[in-house]
Symmetry: D2
């Protein structure tokens, strides 16, 4: 070990350029197997981010992120630290409208033709209790996915909306009551043409909540509980019914080129779930 | 590197004793800080096990296990590989009745006065649908915990029982319907005196299921669905009601020296849960 | 409520046929929106299963399962309870060779042209410690996925193999040591032509383990630890290297029509992961 | 159903007081079983919060929260919606210094003598890369726990610190290399006397990081990787060594009345973990 590398408690910060120049870089070697990899990078990195929304103020939240690039057949490995630098640079402006620029930056700084990015994060929207009018915040687990190809950018927005579903069969056959449960509506929408056409997260959330037997709320006083109990009973729906309603709404939207809806009922009479999935184009 | 250690594809299996004798063992050194550790060992090891039940035939399942011992102030580290050997030896006979012997084996083979063991595993019991009589298997997530002390063995059996709960408030205030949901009843019972007094898993499961608004079943035909829908409606219960009923039953049982009940409702009108907890002795 | 439906403690089990005949069936109604759903069914059901392997004896384990069918545009909802009956009937013979028959049974009993099945389960294989020869069981998280289409059956086998990876860059630039970590190799292989050509789980596991810096073992005595420490050091590999090696092996196999390899390093010098992904055909 | 309760799209928001007065309140009934419950409330509610730190600026993050109160033997159930109102009121000022006031508010608004609160949230601190000096943010999973009793407030701060550990045994017996891995150091400290003596999260993080073989960093350029690789090799430590070092530091701190340290190594040569635990007073 050369002296200048010896570790010391009060290690002086060396010039990165000087040290980098003297260190070998095995990433640039030719790989043993000349095969291109679609995607390599970092994943499961947790970072605070600010999500930019189109029609609401920016929201500070915490993301689990993934960033990657294509690895050509003649490059052994990518420089993973650059993804962390990019994430650090971009953390205050993540959103459907900035995604193309972010992807272009990834591709440029990693010298690649293809780049990918994914951010999973909780988004909170204010909900007003249906009868009392009380205000509280409800979490929607969202994902923003992007891919830069030579042909353009593919941008997909995803939300998972917690709702209530009430079983039409149980209501019909029972003399009183009807089983109901939490139901998660996952909606994925890929933007037509480019990211400028992407549906923003609140758009997706509104479509999903409108299709459920009833929305859920963090804050329900007794008068609100009365409201949602009867609302759900009046709007009994199977997972299939909800999936169709959400899909039909999205399929009419010219901004969506590809979509996927998955509704999962956490059945209150079972320990397992019921699901319905539809995706398009087929 | 001596030649006999060089790695080869078809490496001959050497005599463990010979090699072990020539390798230094830093575990036996004096630690830098002379502090005893209550518990050190292996955790999160997945292993197939056979669970021995008192009144049903043995059940093959898969456990996440943890085994440990006390580390005295003058020992640096434990030999972790021995726990894997013990787990491998005992995998076919895990249960409340074999736990004291297993713990004694851990203590003996690790030369310690105190030993701990924990097994988390799914147990499946046959359930008969309430109206159709159809048969299916329901999962109960169980845990077996044991500690060997100089004074004896502390054995705790734990189950988490999926059930349905129906809200008495929602039923009372609504003109029709009532929100209901999955409710998990966690029951922990520590055996009085010794493990021979431990309640076995099916005992705990029966107590919990009887306290719910209704049990859940994997298999429900329409006639069964009618049955459980109305059963839940007739047996509306808050998390507090269910926790009290389970606790009262266990507190009357002389075999239980310490207990804990936690009921968690996965509220269908919220994305969050409601819970009630009681433990004793206080 | 008619008297014969009143709930009693000792409720007689009624004839399913009689009761079913008198209960309305809202599943069969025309849906409000005439849209076909690719897949609807049950998910996250936990069940004990026996996995049939081609070249090893059947293995009792626990699965998280999902079964579904296509829902035509003129059917409102599927009868979910039938999936539970099918799972119960098939639990003792799950495997690549029985999958086509299972899917045909799902399609027949749900009167559908398309069916899907997925089983996620731990598989345990005996591992012999490299120097001491000790025996222990290592868990491999496996998945069996199948889809029945009018054109045939698509069968995919998936395993996630825990291994060690050692960083070539760290080894090259450091005077001593090299960071290494757990690395998970996920391998998915879709069978060409039909399920008879599917690679069985042990095949996939062998291919993945051979590509790592070193395998992991539950049981390592000191002489084994010496072996794997040096084996990993000698076989330094980036995630990209490992992904290419596994993919190259699978791409040469005529039994595989489509594949996907994803290697994830749980980097010991970071709290985040590095990954490399390759899938084909492109 | 009375007309004024009928659900409409544009439902007018009624006066909560008027409606609440006319709705029966079954929570206030006498319970069927006169047993006190230590704790009942809401859990797993996700909410954006601002964490107040003593020596750093407030930090916006996302919490999973739990709030509860004691339920006396003569009260059937608590009013769960009040916890949501309290959480909403307090979201912008969560921290060790505000916890006693928050708990007093919970007790007052729920009319109880005992209250509990728990917040689990990610905290991000800037880390400077050891050689290049690059800046990035590292996540620390923290928890703030409080209990209000008639005798006072018990406040516990908890962090889980991701670090690197390198095995002293592997280093000693191997001719080259040494296995190393992610190691999580969980530190829990209960404040002596009252919450004013609580250690804040950054204090706990500093103590844990100093005890590891090496810290982890999000951003490591090659010169940094060289640094941490050799730092870990020079500071080889068993889980037992790390647990003792952290515990010894905390046990000397008069502000800590009770503590617990748990170190978990995600062993790179195994698929299971090694752990060491120490808690005091015994």
């Amino acid at each position: 070990m050369s002296d200048d590398r010896r570790l010391e408690d009060g290690a002086a910060v060396l010039s990165p350029q000087i040290v980098a120049d003297e260190l070998p870089d095995v990433h640039l070697e030719a790989p043993g197997i000349a095969l291109a990899l679609q995607d390599a990078g970092i994943s499961d990195i947790r970072y605070p981010i600010v999500v930019r929304l189109r029609e609401a103020k920016p929201q500070q939240t915490v993301a689990t992120a993934s960033l990657g690039v294509e690895v050509p057949a003649d490059v052994r490995a990518v420089h993973m630290s650059r993804f962390v630098e990019i994430l650090n640079d971009w953390q205050s402006r993540i959103g459907v409208d900035t995604l193309p620029e972010l992807l272009a930056d990834v591709a440029r700084r990693l010298a690649s033709n293809r780049a990918s990015a994914r951010f999973d994060f909780p988004l909170f929207l204010e909900r007003r209790s249906p009868a009392s009018g009380g205000r509280s915040l409800l979490e929607y687990r969202c994902s923003l996915e992007g891919e830069l190809h030579p042909e353009g950018v593919r941008c997909t927005t995803i939300t998972r909306v917690p709702t209530t579903s009430l079983c039409p069969c149980s209501r019909e056959i029972s003399d009183y009551g009807a089983h109901n449960q939490r139901s998660s509506i996952e909606v994925c929408a890929t933007a037509a043409v480019d990211a400028a056409h992407a549906l923003d997260f609140p758009d997706l959330i509104g479509i999903a909540e409108a299709a459920a037997s009833a929305p859920v709320y963090p804050l329900l006083k007794r008068m609100d509980e009365l409201h949602v109990t009867m609302q759900a009973y009046e709007n009994a729906a199977f997972v299939e019914d909800v999936a169709r309603l959400v899909a039909a709404t999205l399929q009419r939207d010219a901004r969506v080129s590809a979509g996927r809806v998955r509704v999962v009922n956490e059945e209150s009479v079972h320990a397992h779930n019921a699901y319905a999935t539809i995706s398009w184009p087929v």
